[in-house]
Symmetry: C2
């Protein structure tokens, strides 16, 4: 995950309709949901939903596969996890003992490379 990927992912999630879509897909798990089901669950016009799905796709947060006439969307858990890791990278210079309230001590979220001094 580089900075531009992270900004794309954060921008994609920083909007009510897209956050709703993404969280619905996170809850749905690997089986995903069809675009039509998303539109119905969230009460969005098809053109609006499609615009938001494109944003999420471009950010790498969702993918889809066609199944007959439906497009089945699902959350990309790997990208989500990479984003969470990026946000906390090098927290407190990699030194958990200086970290406020133990929030970056490695037990709470994935740390990419722990870069401890030798």
């Amino acid at each position: 995950m580089d900075k531009q990927n992270a900004i794309a992912a954060l921008s994609a999630l920083a909007q009510e309709a897209r956050l709703d879509i993404f969280r619905l897909l996170v809850r749905a798990g690997p089986d995903g949901l069809a675009a039509g089901q998303l539109a119905e669950c969230l009460g969005l016009p098809p053109a609006t939903l499609s615009f938001h799905l494109k944003e999420l796709r471009h950010a790498g947060l969702v993918s889809f596969q066609r199944e007959s006439r439906s497009l089945i969307y699902s959350a990309e858990f790997t990208s989500m996890n990479a984003l969470l890791a990026y946000l906390t990278e090098n927290c407190c210079q990699g030194d958990a003992t200086t970290c406020a309230a133990g929030l970056c001590d490695g037990t709470n979220f994935v740390k990419p490379k722990s870069q401890k001094p030798a």
Copy 2:
């Protein structure tokens, strides 16, 4: 963390200057950095930096305290963690066994309430 808080936090982070500021503060840890140091590190004009710091403050991602003429900003690790938890809430309907690649099994990020079926 409710939806509006999450959108505020994601919007705040979804912008290059603010993501840079926030990550610098995450790296700096609890001691934080003065606004002037941030401006110098990132090459931002004071008015621009101040605008972005206000956004981060309103989103609850940073706080500051005055120290003589300087305002020392630091990352709010608690809010950051709450955001990460919100994004993965109810992943795969709380059932880690259905989760793609083991990415929502509780070892990678904080799960708020694990809501397993009885």
